[in-house]
């Protein structure tokens, strides 16, 4: 494992105080802080290289184009994807909308089923509800187990109906922390396909997985993978969508944003789209600075090593589960163990109910102690309703968090007890 203290020095924001207390930033599932290397990469781009890409023959445009291409290569490589499989977006939500408008609208029809689950983030749910309205397809929910994992038995039954055309999976739940057993589910899907049923396309929401565990898209066996750069140390406004090359090459997925930069030729009669897959889905002037910043984030994580990043995450999650379980007022949600190896059960965060106190009030008191957490629905309203939770408080981790910060969380929870006389 790496040295957390050395890592912390790379993140200038972590040095500041909040309410005269050292900042304990545990809201990483919302967005992470940025290392100096990312901040410098963006500053360096605007200070020395800023120009529009692909459009000029001048030196700066060449440099900017090269930096854009290099950023794309590094980001794709980080996720084990080919450059042609990468569409840079602003965030996971935009990536999901891309799949909906670029793929679902052209491939779904009345009678088709989009299979989602109760743990899916609104970005991986609302888009499908809307796509269903446009196409006539139906959104069906897969149940969860008592510990907040996808109910594989229920999933199998729903796949066996034979009308599932799109299956969306949350790799790591932003509320439950539970890890989706992707390989097991892909095996189930393959078994159904062998029985002559339709093989659904598989979408993975990787927002809480990216930057927490190694991801190799080439071996994942899924069709679409979305993630947010800003949740993996990259800049705000950076996100990505990976699409298997054959889906792009065959035209099964079509452009969904139109304009300059994505065309081969435009005439009065119509337009031929660019044969370059990387251009075809990126109309208009792209956010080169964010791409360069995301590249720096990928390089930063690669230097730490994603196996080591995962090991550090698992240490913190296991420690947080252990500490929080000792507080009688705390009721944890999601799996109570982290698992191991191919049976990883929990990554990145711990969310809980605090007996007698609303999550917002818990978070407000924690903030007064410098501890930043998220409270509320975390964009998973159906999950909260499914479990009859009003709201939960979530502490989520990144490479710079320490066991001492979890201790700070636990002692700040003492103050919650004092103030609300629980």
């Amino acid at each position: 494992m790496f040295d957390e203290e050395r890592v912390r020095r790379d993140f200038p924001l972590l040095w500041r105080k909040v309410h005269a207390k050292p900042l304990v930033y545990l809201d990483n599932a919302s967005t992470t802080q940025k290392p100096q290397a990312v901040i410098d990469a963006i500053t360096n781009y605007y200070t020395h290289h800023n120009a529009n890409i692909h459009r000029g023959v001048h030196q700066l445009s060449d440099e900017s184009t090269q930096l854009w291409n290099q950023a794309r290569a590094v980001v794709a490589g980080f996720f084990g994807a080919e450059e042609d499989e990468l569409i840079l977006t602003r965030n996971t939500t935009e990536s999901m909308n891309g799949i909906a408008y670029g793929w679902a609208d052209h491939n779904l029809t009345k009678g088709d089923v989009i299979l989602v689950s109760y743990m899916d983030h609104h970005s991986n749910l609302v888009v499908w509800q809307e796509a269903a309205k446009r196409t006539g397809a139906k959104v069906v929910f897969v149940n969860l187990t008592a510990e907040g994992e996808v109910d594989l038995h229920d999933l199998k039954e729903k796949l066996a109906e034979g009308n599932v055309k799109l299956l969306t999976l949350t790799y790591v739940s932003n509320t439950l922390g539970s890890v989706c057993p992707l390989q097991e589910i892909i095996t189930l899907v393959d078994e159904q396909a062998k029985k002559g049923k339709i093989k659904p396309r598989i979408v993975v929401d990787g927002a809480q997985a990216a930057g927490h565990l190694p991801v190799d898209f080439s071996r994942l066996g899924v069709d679409f993978f979305s993630a947010s750069g800003h949740k993996m140390l990259g800049p705000m406004g950076s996100g990505l969508l990976l699409v298997r090359k054959e889906i792009l090459e065959s035209g099964e997925m079509r452009p969904y944003f139109f304009g300059g930069g994505m065309i081969a030729a435009v005439s009065v009669e119509g337009t031929e789209f660019s044969s370059s897959l990387s251009d075809r889905f990126t109309p208009g002037t792209p956010d080169v600075a964010s791409a360069v910043g995301l590249e720096a984030a990928c390089n930063y994580l690669s230097a730490l090593g994603m196996e080591a990043v995962l090991e550090h995450d698992q240490d913190l999650v296991a420690y947080a589960l252990e500490q929080l379980q000792q507080i009688p007022e705390v009721e944890l949600v999601g799996p109570l163990s982290v698992g191991s190896g191919s049976q990883l059960r929990r990554i990145g965060s711990v969310a809980f109910l605090y007996k007698g106190v609303h999550a917002h009030d818990v978070a407000q008191v924690l903030d007064s102690e410098g501890v930043a957490v998220r409270s509320g629905h975390h964009c998973t309203m159906p999950l909260h309703v499914y479990n009859d939770w009003v709201a939960t408080t979530r502490a989520s981790f990144q490479v710079y968090n320490t066991r001492e910060e979890i201790d700070a969380l636990v002692s700040a929870l003492d103050k919650v007890k004092r103030i609300f006389k629980v």
């Binding site: 609303h358 999550a359 917002h360 009030d361 407000q364 008191v365 007064s368 629905h377 103050k415 103030i419």
Partner: protein, 126 residues
């Protein structure tokens, strides 16, 4: 922190005034605070000329700010002119709760009750 969660506020959230459903009412609405899970359902009975609030009943769950604000507000509005209530804002709710300020992130909690009451009154007027 004690400045925000002072005794009076904690008590207001604990002993919610006018909590319960009105059987006889002229208008009703339910609102959610989607980001935090607060919810209030309010029923209002107006005076016969429709210009004043005669009684209010409400149910709901949520954070201390939203619940205390709704409880105090439900008491305050009884007997008040509809036009006066339509003119209320965050400042008046803070006063009802004896608070001097609120963080931007809690503003929606503070205003959940008031916006719901206004919604009911507006619908009655149109």
């Amino acid at each position: 922190m004690q400045d925000l969660y002072h005794q009076q506020l904690l008590e207001a959230a604990e002993n919610k005034k006018n909590f319960g459903e009105l059987a006889d009412f002229d208008g009703e609405a339910t609102s959610y605070n989607a980001s935090c899970g607060d919810t209030v359902s309010i029923r209002i009975k107006l005076t016969s000329n429709g210009k004043q609030i005669e009684s209010v009943g409400w149910t709901g769950t949520g954070c201390i700010i939203s619940q205390a604000a709704m409880g105090q507000l439900s008491d305050y509005v009884v007997g008040k002119q509809v036009s006066d209530i339509m003119a209320m804002g965050a400042g008046e709710i803070l006063e009802l709760l004896a608070l001097s300020k609120i963080a931007p992130g809690r503003l929606r909690c503070l205003l959940l009750g008031l916006t719901t009451i206004k919604k009911i009154l507006q619908e009655k007027n149109t």
